[in-house]
Amino acid sequence: MINSLFLINPSGEIFLEKHWKSVVSRSVCDYFLEAKEKALEPEDVPPVIHTPHHYLISIYRDKLFFLSVIQTEVPPLFVIEFLHRVAEMIQDYFGECSETVVKDHMVMVYELLEEMLDNGFPLATESNVLKEMIRPPTILRSVVNTLTGTSNVGDTLLTGQLSTIPWRRAGVRYTNNEAYFDVVEEIDAILDQSGTTVFAEIQGVVEACVKLSGMPDLTLSFMNPRLLDDVSFHPCVRYKLWESERVLSFIPPDGNFTLMTYHVNAQNLVAIPVYVKQSISFFECGSDGRLDVTVGPKQTMGKTVEGVMVTVHLPKTILSINLTATQGSYTYDNGTKLLVWDIGKLNPQKLPNLRGSLSLQAGAPKPEENPSLNIDLKIQQLAISGLKVNRLDMFGEKYKPFKGVKYITKAGKFQVRT
């Protein structure tokens, strides 16, 4: 299956390689680097590249390329999914996934990679099992290790892999038992010039942070589970119970995890929390243009819209811009032509506005298309679909846990065409 893994930074330097079968020379990456040169953006590099003797499957994540080398037929998604798990594992262990972090913890990354695959086939990918074998670093531990000469490799019997519930380790103990759930909903939408919704849908995710002792068995139920059109679960969720009773019954992993993701069946009746009035125009004669954008609240269910941000990829022919914002501030990178207007909280009484002039390079033709606006926003304490958690019950343990549910609505891929 997976033969080797190379981690490559944006400038094309290989800074980690790992082989699970016989060694594949790193020159194989040249095919990839060639494709990377050709691509305008890193995202445009084809995920699957065919070379004379190998197949290269890569992902681009956190500004790094994870490149795996394959020799025989294997479902590409199998490899892609695994590579993302590697990235998530690094993120989980070290707090972020970046070149510096990997280089700082090179040894531990190797140890983890070694445990994740055997002969190229996934062996232990559950974070709980891995953490039992290789403890994540903490400042205290690294000091202790230096003083005592011990290592991060756990020396207890690793039993997680033997368990029927590999996602939870045994003997978890907390003094404060708590279970928190975040219901995060994202609005994906495309609006056209006039503000009409071309396409809108709500995608949600229930993120959990469960710190409970022992082997708790939780049941989470919703007031209105009918809203959920399509769901996918963490393996801990008992699917059949969901099918029959529409409740989430599970023995949770320890710590942070994604319990479920869902899609809301709203048939385009999605409440759009903001409206955008915009006009971007370029004059036919002369090399000039105007930009005028106003953002205002629309269907906000009485909540405040926060963290509003407008991102615009201006045309390549723009030479410079001169804008004024009535609220918040804007930044503009002339290299990437990226305009970011950070508005912050939306005040219905005084709508934020950004206007000014754009100047084009001399002699450049009027841009064909007006750039589309990408909107970011956040609404606390609201799930835009109206989904509500009914109750959380715990079985199997005697103590009383602290329970909490938080709702957040965000903009997902929210785009306004102009």
């Binding site: 060694v23 084809p46 037929e73 445990e115 055997d118 019997l157 892999q161 399509d230 029959s244």
Partner: protein, 984 residues
């Protein structure tokens, strides 16, 4: 207790050895990288005896630093110095040594052999994790000379009691196969054996080995097919992918095409076919894979989607669309692969994605490759009803700054126009407008597409041709120029005045044109010469002369060939007569096809499908058979499953999800215990005194075998020898032995034993009340896998009516607070005269209150209730004698109930007591030094409170029964039940 001490010692030793071997599993890493640091003389000094982990980690850091690697040289000459460290106590050093060993063993074979004994020792370790990691390292050393050792190790590990070791054995199979393919036959035997394994831990790995070693041996799957289907949901996600892909191929060889009635042409439909009935095994696969569409793992979702696409009846394929659309939210690489597959699927089954049309709308932030794929899908989905929406969407795309994407959009419009007649003119007009676009690439692409569209109905569009003729002055893109020239040549009769003029202009610029344009100029000249030689004769000759001296030989060739054809000379052959026919023949309009058409002959989701080329190791997806092969090959003999069943370690049973286990298996285990009881009874009748000795002998046997359980063939599960051994041992001893061979794990893995004694059946619904439907239930004493806090109740429906009963399901459960019910999946149809068993779970909350609910058929509802005997509210647990005593000591006073009783005549003797107690309550035997005392342990299903029972027999059938349980009510009731069982 002597045995027990051994156990403790070996456990302790295990922990120590564990520290040494703990990270053996961590091998091959740093392999290549070792070289650099070993060539560094400073670090080389450390190798002989560095003992501090800090040093080790420092060295490791160098080792892993790619800057070092770049300078790396062959370090195999340091082999002896390094291998010496194999027995080093520091785990990280050890790991490093293993890594080095695995990397260089190939070059230093003799020296590598020195280390082998370390691993061989590990293979015999009593600790399963050590055995597993020793096998993992050993099988990774690529030295041919140790192939026999590896083979032996794999064979032994495949029979190991621990499923984890067996899993490691499955992983080792492909390693050995790649080292020495000649071992294939032996390895197939091991694979066959492991395929029969009933644990979820092993299933994924062994199917992986099967796919790498012998994917053609589909016959090995037959007997395991149903089991694999039933285990699937509990297998880890990576294993699921491999199993589902393999089962897709299997199903294609064994079942009939569910769509054959739909797809067959009229001619074959006339031939009388048997009406299609889906094989129940085919249905089983579809049913058991469907829940996995909800997996968080994109690869699993894709695997199920392709299974449904290739195997499901047309009407059912639709379910996968929603799941695939969900994956579109994922990372862009996942989107890329999913869209490729959706593109292929949407050609065959357009309908299923139509409701999700808008999910494929393109955002300006999508990477180009995603945009192009989405466009492909949108084009495939276009039909008469949605085309106007799609075209409106396309219009916005044309304005994009991403020119590759615009070009793809224009192509897509062209395809929509050819496929949907109604919009052809609209599209054409739209494209013609694009001809005045400022961007040359857009214009060029439009020209190419218009050319194709015009070929369909040239007569009506001479004005467009004229318009395009004018473009030759401005447009520079070669492909577009060539297309225009071809159009004018082909339809020169529609533009008789313009055509010669275009040729005139082209002749002027001929030498500066690109090759493809030159060829088309020659082409245009030839066609005009044939239709309008008066005006163009000289021009043509001029062009041909220019071409004659062109640098490109294709062009020279073409010129020579055409001259011969069209210009009549003395020498010109017979062909020139047909020149007009040759050049001006009516040409069929091009069909604008999706590049994804017919790609579904590759298994979807595969690498080969993505590349549209066969990748190495790809297994062709076979066509459906004409007639179904014998379905009985998948029948599993009851006897066989009975013999292997109790031999499996406890952990495996919970993992295998017995809820879905077939009814035959359960009834089988019942009959088996009956047999063994008979045997034990006959033994006790023979000679009661001798029995004690016999028992001891058994224990001795076990003891003798204990230290090296893996090395002796007769202790291996599944072998005939071991079955015989077990047959001769009476049940309690067997449980005892199972305990010995399988020391309890340090974590609380839920454990189960097979039910002892007969399962008592109760009536739920009488035949007469049920109008022909009779329902019985029994407590199967299997763990209920969806919820370990529920008691599994096996319900058996028998339809003795004359008509079939439909949609049997549970409704309206009226439960006491806290009680829960997990209904069985609805039974769609129960034909007359048939019997079916299902399993449901009930959480009785450790009380004997009845669970009331309605049992519904499609016509009637029956109120029924299930009341459990107290003995069914518990499940057995394993305990040692010491643990038992300790726990008992903590449950004194109120929690202890003692009762004196006189054993019934037939019930005197240890075996009878054991049998009666285990029949009355779901408990397991606890080993005990004295044969005057029998001990049993269990815990309540819901709260997990301990239930301890001991029966001390005295002379003349007098006995004392003690029950210790935290829950006093349960204790009291249990005493009553056991008392009754022992005295009547």
């Amino acid at each position: 207790s002597c045995v027990h001490n051994d156990e403790v010692i070996s456990q302790q030793r295990g922990n120590v050895t564990m520290k040494l071997l703990r990270e053996q599993a961590t091998v091959c890493c740093y392999a290549f990288e070792c070289s650099s640091f070993l060539t560094n003389p400073i670090t080389y000094g450390y190798m002989d005896g560095f003992d501090s982990a800090v040093q080790c980690v420092t060295v490791l850091y160098w080792v892993c630093d790619p800057q070092m690697i770049a300078r790396g040289k062959n370090a195999s000459d340091l082999f002896p110095a390094v291998v010496k460290n194999v027995a080093c106590k520091n785990i990280e050093v050890k790991k490093l040594v293993y890594v080095y060993l695995v990397r260089y063993a190939e070059e230093q074979q003799d020296l590598a052999l020195l280390s082998i004994s370390t691993f061989q020792r590990g293979l015999k370790d009593p600790n399963q994790l050590i055995r597993a990691s020793a096998l993992r390292v050993l099988s990774s050393i690529r030295v041919t000379i140790i192939v026999p050792i590896m083979m032996l190790a794999i064979k032994e590990a495949a029979s190991d009691m621990s499923p984890y070791v067996r899993k490691t054995a499955a992983h080792a199979i492909p390693k050995l196969y790649s080292l020495d393919p000649e071992q294939k036959d032996c390895l197939i035997e091991v694979i066959e054996k492991l395929l029969a394994d009933k644990t979820t831990l092993v299933a994924g790995s062994v199917v992986m080995a099967f796919e790498e070693v012998c994917p053609e041996r589909i016959d090995l799957i037959h007997k395991n097919y149903r089991k694999l289907c039933n285990l699937l949901i509990d297998v880890e996600e990576w294993g699921q992918v491999v199993i589902i892909n393999m089962l897709t191929r299997y199903a294609r060889t064994q079942f009939l095409n569910p769509n054959m009635n739909v797809s067959t042409t009229e001619a074959t439909a006339i031939v009388k076919r048997k009406p299609y009935v889906m094989d129940p095994d085919h249905r089983l696969l579809l049913r058991n894979t469907k829940p996995l569409l909800q997996s968080r793992n994109a690869a699993v979702v894709m695997a199920v989607a392709q299974l449904y696409f290739h195997l499901a009846p047309k009407a059912e394929v639709g379910v996968i669309a929603k799941a695939l659309v969900r994956l579109m939210r994922s990372h862009s690489e996942v989107q890329y692969v999913v869209l490729q597959n959706v593109a292929t699927m949407s050609i065959k089954r357009r309908g299923m994605f139509e409701p999700y049309l808008k999910s494929f709308y393109i955002r300006s932030t999508d990477p180009t490759q995603i945009k192009v794929l989405k466009l492909e899908v949108l084009t495939n989905l276009a039909n008469e009803t949605n085309i106007s929406t799609i075209l409106r969407e396309f219009q916005t795309y044309i304005k994009s700054n991403d020119k590759d994407f615009v070009a793809a959009t224009i192509q897509a419009i062209g395809r929509c126009a050819t496929n949907i007649g109604e919009v052809r003119d609209t599209c054409l007009n739209g494209l013609v407008q694009l001809l005045s676009n400022r961007d040359e690439l857009v214009v060029a692409e439009s020209v190419v597409v218009i050319k194709k569209l015009l070929q369909m109905q040239p007569e009506q569009h001479s004005d467009i041709i004229k318009h395009m003729a004018k473009l030759t002055d401005n447009i520079q893109v070669p492909m577009a120029r060539a297309s225009i020239l071809w159009l004018i040549g082909e339809y020169c009769e529609h533009v008789p005045k313009i055509a010669p003029d275009v040729l005139r202009k082209m002749a002027k610029t001929f030498t500066n044109e690109e090759d493809i344009v030159k060829l088309q100029i020659i082409n245009l000249a030839a066609k005009l010469y044939l239709t309008n030689s008066k005006q163009t004769k000289l021009l043509t000759q001029y062009v041909l002369n220019l071409a004659k001296y062109d640098q490109n030989y294709d062009i020279r060739d073409r010129a020579r060939f055409i001259r011969q054809l069209i210009v009549p000379t003395d020498k010109s052959g017979a062909l020139s007569k047909y020149a007009k026919k040759l050049f001006l023949a009516l040409k069929p309009a091009p069909v604008l096809e999706s590049p994804f058409k017919d790609r579904d002959h590759f298994q979807l989701g595969s690498l080969s499908h993505l590349l549209n080329a066969k990748a190495g190791g790809y297994q062709v997806l076979p066509d459906w058979p004409e007639a179904a092969p014998d379905p009985s090959v998948r029948n599993v003999e009851v006897k066989e499953s009975v013999q292997t069943y109790p031999l499996h370690p406890p952990a495996s049973d919970t993992a295998s999800g017995s809820e879905s286990g077939s009814g035959s298996e359960e009834s089988g285990s019942g009959s088996e215990s009956e047999e063994s009881n008979e045997e034990s009874e006959s033994a006790s009748e023979e000679d009661e005194e001798e029995e004690g000795k016999k028992k001891k002998k058994n224990v001795e046997k076990i003891k003798a075998r204990k230290p090296v359980p893996e090395s002796e063939s007769d202790s291996q599960p599944n072998t005939i020898a071991s079955v015989q051994v077990f047959d001769t041992i009476c049940k309690p001893a067997w449980l005892y032995m199972q305990f010995l061979l399988n020391p309890p794990l340090p974590v609380s893995v839920p454990q189960t034993i097979i039910p002892s004694g007969n399962l008592k059946t109760y009536e739920l619904l009488h035949r007469i009340t049920g109008e022909g439907l009779s329902v019985e239930y029994c407590f199967s004493r299997q763990p209920f896998s969806p919820d370990p806090h529920m008691v599994a109740v096996k319900i058996q429906f028998t339809n003795s009516a004359t008509s079939e009963a439909k949609s049997l399901h549970v409704e309206d459960a009226k439960l006491q607070s806290g009680m829960r019910i997990k209904e069985f999946p609805e039974i769609e149809v129960l034909p007359a005269g048939e019997t079916i068993s299902v399993v449901m779970g009930i959480d009785f909350c450790d009380s004997t209150q009845a669970a009331n609910f309605q049992l519904c058929t499609h016509t009637r509802k029956f109120f029924v209730s299930i009341q459990p005997p107290v003995g069914e509210l518990m499940m057995p647990i394993f305990m040692t004698e010491n643990e038992f005593k300790k726990e008992q000591g903590q449950l004194m006073g109120m929690n202890e109930i003692t009762e004196k009783l006189t054993l019934e005549e037939k019930c005197q003797g240890e075996h009878a007591v054991v049998q009666r107690v285990t029949t009355a309550a779901n408990l397991s035997r606890v080993p005990c030094g004295s044969d005057k005392e029998c001990r049993f342990a269990g815990k309540t299903v819901t709260s997990g409170s301990l239930v301890l029972v001991s029966v001390v027999t005295k002379e003349d059938g007098a006995a004392q029964l003690t029950v210790n349980c935290e829950k006093m009510v349960i204790g009291t009731m249990l005493v009553k039940d056991i008392h009754q069982a022992l005295t009547q």
